[in-house]
Symmetry: C2
Subunit: 282 residues, 2 copies
């Protein structure tokens, strides 16, 4: 089976590594020529090629590129790929791309997906074998995909050992705003805030410890990948950030008032997050 992966970075590269040895021939395509060369050299892909050539001989095409680029590219690929070829994506927002796909006569050949795994690193060097193992993929609008195309994508996620959740693009985007996107914004903003202070307080990072490292880890993530995600999920993120900022302001007021009982009460409520975290596979 010829599989084209467009974007051979952290996600695309890790998919390629996971599909190796399953009678696949992986063709890598990337706007950055260095990335395909690195991916080829590292043995992540079997062939490097240009988009048109790769698309013309594929059975499965996977877009693992920023969500704005994926939305733009989708109609072009659906127009040019062979009959019986399946297209899927791995983007962290689903409403935008599903809207574009809905208007295309070959909608059935596309499967909207979001494998939920990653690290704060990027590029082909960041690709990891087993990145997706036992984690979850969301598939949206399964009813709009042909059963053959859905089967191809489900088979791929079976090889990657992922569990499948089905939901609407709107539910996906609303939920992911809370459990992924504001985590990233929280980290980015915390990193930014402390780096600003560093200008006046040079030795501030002498005191940074593992707790700090954990909270700001996601601030290392790729701006090219995340900025378009935030833009596409703006309405959901606006609501989620309002709730987050409101709670931060409440916390700040309670601290300023010295209302220790209420602070302790809120923190005890937050401790319930342990129940959630115990269920997440690290």
């Amino acid at each position: 089976m010829n599989i084209t992966i467009i974007g051979v970075g952290l996600i695309g590269g890790s998919v390629a590594l996971g599909l190796k040895g399953f009678q696949t021939h992986i063709i890598g395509v990337d706007a950055n020529p260095k990335h395909v060369q690195t991916a080829l050299k590292l043995g992540i892909i079997d062939e490097a090629n240009d988009l048109d050539t790769a698309v013309s001989k594929s059975d499965l095409i996977i877009m693992a590129i920023p969500v704005d680029a994926a939305r733009k590219l989708l109609p072009y690929i659906l127009n040019h790929m062979p009959a019986n070829c399946t297209l899927t994506d791995m983007g962290s927002t689903k409403s935008g791309i599903c809207q574009v796909a809905a208007e295309h006569p070959r909608r059935g050949a596309y499967v909207a997906a979001h494998p939920m795994a990653g690290t704060e690193n990027s590029g082909p060097e960041a690709a990891i074998h087993g990145l997706f193992t036992h984690k979850k993929t969301v598939i949206c609008e399964r009813e709009l995909s042909h059963s053959d195309s859905l089967d191809v994508v489900l088979k791929m996620y079976e090889i990657l050992q992922m569990n499948i959740l089905y939901m609407s693009p709107e539910d996906h985007d609303r939920h992911i705003a809370y459990v992924s996107h504001i985590s990233h914004i929280s980290s980015f903003t915390l990193g930014l805030t402390v780096l600003e202070i560093e200008k006046d307080e040079e030795r501030i990072f002498d005191m940074a410890s593992t707790g700090f490292a954990s909270t700001v880890r996601l601030a290392k993530s790729s701006p090219d990948m995340w900025a378009p995600i935030f833009k596409q999920n703006a309405p959901q993120l606006s609501t989620a950030l309002d709730a987050y900022i409101k709670n931060l302001q409440l916390f700040k007021e309670l601290i300023e008032e010295g209302n220790i009982d209420e602070i302790r009460k809120l923190m005890t409520q937050a401790n319930d997050i342990r129940r959630i975290l115990d269920g997440i596979r690290q």
Copy 2:
């Protein structure tokens, strides 16, 4: 050497484990009788005793209790401990306790310290051998401690293999607000915000992944330990939270405007946090 550890939880218990085998006899004192019994049973301490008895026969007394309790207890211990005994604490705020100590005739027998290590867990079962290894301790107002007392505490941190930073209580509290306290508030508040949404969106946590786990890990921390820290460091935290909330609001506005170039620019600035994180020992 008789060492009394008041509070045999995560921090006090880990100190006890680190000092084992260095000609020490560790006496555990805890307001919670279950904690001392557990610490004794786990072999963390050599003896469980009441505060007065323990204090009366100690060469070194370590307070590893919430910062409000430590500030209250300090004068009592300085009044009752033997001549040549040294008192130290491990609290995450230093201005408050240093103010109380400054008024005491035996100020010289006290060493104000903050070993910067921890996990999100609490209680004696959470104690870890090696928790402090190669991490940093801040010592404040060294010039107000007798050299004998300072030597005892430095020797202890040498055994625990910690590196020492010296600074004023005010510098400590200002810096720690940024590199530790707002990380905790950010996590607690994020946890709280997502748990609130869960009431309407039951399946939201099906989608939580490792990025989320990393960002909210600190929300599992002990409210009894952290609420008093936030109260004592209120002025510094108020400033730090203002800066953090302001940056969050800026981020939110840029997302609402769809100003992707400016979002990307801010995120690229935040990426510089990699330089800091690479220097933190995990």
